[in-house]
Symmetry: C2
Subunit: 199 residues, 2 copies
């Protein structure tokens, strides 16, 4: 028999399985929500129920949003002819927070991986090629991770796009802003040195 | 305009204010729940709504549970005459996980603090004294934190209980199980040395 009753215990166990949380932090969150008698838990519950009902993938780019086509794909100001290809929705949101890119996105939904048997058709690569013929695209920016899988995926897409004649670019590699050389890994320092530029 | 739509953004902002979470982990949790098309978010939402509706403080001990009297206070096997006094519900749950104590609890709801203007009547100390006359109590175990506030509270309660003649005890202080001396603070080592016992 649980000290707190079965329902509270089930809620804690469910929350403990969420990424980044564990049993301890789940207990803390649940106690916090119960203790605040401001109805915060009921409010959070109804918000989650509503998101669970409405959240879906944008039919064009794969962004997660509350409508069939996401706010970025419906915004005419963002039809710049540039598509930024990202691995996951989280990457799209990260780029949006930076406010540096004003074109549109394409979410792959993963990386190519021979080990995990993820091929081009398991990702949204065919949809990307379709967009190239449907929309007036001049540049595809591959904002993929600097990992083996990310770079394999980037090479595959670059080759698939070669016949179309569209410009294919990738993110610059180098020293992160605020990064101290002493704390950087050798790979980053080597890449930054190779890609050195005139001041 | 948020990349993800306003409702998802509100959910992320609400979750980011929970203890132990921040904007980054809130985004991760929300994306995880949206991505898993197993209805996990709807399930979590309804669980939270139900807990928000039903969770309340046990009228006897202050434990948080789904009923007026908690499972521990209604269990006749736990009428051992021992009351374990804890600061918060989280402490009660921690002790229950240890399974070492088979009596009942009393949750104070905080510690005495002159700075924060928390006096005895702001905590559940009057209710503790009432229980002493209502129930057959032989021992009160003060399982309070080894902080200044915790020990102030413990001393206050010990003095308030003195006239009743009930035994008042506190948790032992010393080296934690698995603790390496080298990594312990001086206060703990000093306390463990002072309270040394014959082997």
């Amino acid at each position: 028999m649980a000290a707190s009753g079965d329902e509270i215990e089930t809620l804690i166990a469910t929350m403990a399985r969420l990424p980044g949380l564990g049993p301890r932090s789940a207990r803390r969150v649940v106690l916090h929500l119960i203790r605040r008698r401001t109805g915060q838990m009921a409010q959070l519950a109804s918000l989650m129920a509503s998101v669970a009902e409405n959240a879906r993938e944008c039919l064009v780019c794969g962004n997660v949003t509350g409508s069939d086509i996401c706010p970025i794909c419906t915004d005419p100001a963002r039809a710049t002819g540039e598509i930024c290809v990202v691995t996951e929705v989280a990457d799209l949101w990260a780029l949006e927070r930076g406010r540096a890119f004003r074109g549109r996105y394409h979410v792959l939904g993963g990386s190519l991986s021979a080990l995990d048997e993820i091929g081009p058709d398991d990702l949204r690569i065919p949809q990307l090629l379709e967009r190239l013929s449907d929309e007036r695209i001049t540049e595809v920016i591959l904002a993929l991770s600097a990992t083996v899988e990310g770079q394999t995926t980037a090479h595959y897409i670059a080759e698939a796009l070669a016949p179309s004649g569209v410009a294919v670019t990738g993110l610059a590699q180098g020293v992160p802003i605020g990064g101290e050389l002493d704390y950087l890994d050798d790979g980053t320092i080597t890449a930054a040195l190779r890609a050195r530029r005139k001041l």
